[in-house]
Assembly symmetry: C2
Homo-oligomer: 187 residues x 2
DNA sequence: TTATACATTTACCGTTCGGTACACCTTTGT
DNA sequence: ACAAAGGTGTACCGAACGGTAAATGTATAA
């Protein structure tokens, strides 16, 4: 039961769950696509929910890596980084396999409060807030938490609409809405 | 096959789909909860997808009625109405059965482009944009479409986060982000 | 070489899925 | 009174669901 095999399973599961959804992807499909047997799959993951949680944790890590790394590459000052968030968002929307936010999808399919999947999704958003709040603090914002929350609201709204209506203009519109907020918050 | 019976079925289906999701709600559950027989159900709706589409159309109508009516009740001038959008949003978030936007949920479970369900969800958002753009035009905005889009982005973001993290502060934060945008756009 | 331990496969479990064939009403027109 | 028409319920379809028991490798240690 090698750790790398498990990793491979989670990567593949993440890809398929993100593309097709959670309920509509059966364990038989995952087993077939990964080439493993069903019993082995259930040795690595006790239940389907365990596999979903592992996939969400991987997604959390990969997504934050991508966003944070690109922001750091695109901008130098904290204030510029806050704004660059929306340029990274535009890059994400344009990717050919973009299908919206995986955690929003998960919260739609498992909406019951205080369940592991919804909690994992909520925690992902907390991590984003924390990162943005740190940037806002470094940028000298009066109320870093508030500014971070507003930026996250714009990010989530743009993401939802980009998935529903196509990538078009939403990252740009969100950016144009964010800039005056950021400038006003940092004197 | 009375029209009122069909209406009753759609209402009940909407309630259950919104609470539990689409894939995780079986036709057997719907049949049991409505007290009708399966054959009769399939006389009214050829497939499960037809029933989902009917539920989404009803949701579209009910949701827009609620939002637009409350906005008109809360504010008089077009500019005030744009702002009041976020007070109505706060009311929605506080409702005990609030579970986020049904069309976002639908787009998460049926993400394939150019399919009836995704198209219906996209059209719902178009209707909201159109209404907001009309208000923005009446309020004298330079670019009504842009302002409407930005307000919708804030609405969608606040909705997603309110579902994930609880109603708390998101309507208020979105409102505070929207006000300067609205004021700046209308001179 | 053989016993042990563990990973893997095959074959299957009971349940639920979306959907349907068909017998059984009940109504309506004549 | 009676037949045609159409809505209704029962009982069922094959497939897919999440999950498991038992057999079959296969590598290591004695």
């Amino acid at each position: 039961m090698s750790a790398s095999k498990r990793d491979e399973l989670v990567h593949k599961a993440l890809e398929i769950f993100y593309r097709d959804g959670f309920h509509s992807t059966g364990m038989d499909t995952l087993v077939k696509e990964t080439g493993i047997s069903k019993t082995s799959m259930y040795k690595h993951f006790r239940t389907k929910e365990d596999l979903i949680l592992a996939a969400l944790r991987l997604r959390d890590e990969k997504f934050r890596n991508f966003i944070f790394r690109r922001i750091e590459e695109l901008a130098k000052t904290p204030r510029e980084k806050l704004i660059a968030t929306f340029d990274v968002l535009a890059e994400w929307f344009e990717m050919k396999d973009f299908r919206g936010c995986m955690f929003v999808k998960a919260s739609g399919e498992y909406p019951e409060h205080n369940t592991p999947i919804l909690n994992t999704a909520a925690e992902h958003k907390n991590q984003l807030i924390r990162y943005l709040a740190d940037l806002a603090r470094d940028a000298g914002a009066q109320d870093p938490e508030n500014l971070a929350t507003q930026i996250l609201i714009l990010k989530e709204g743009a993401t939802v609409l980009a998935h529903l209506q196509g990538p078009g203009k939403f990252a740009k519109q969100a950016k144009e809405a964010a800039i005056p907020l950021i400038l006003a918050a940092c004197d």
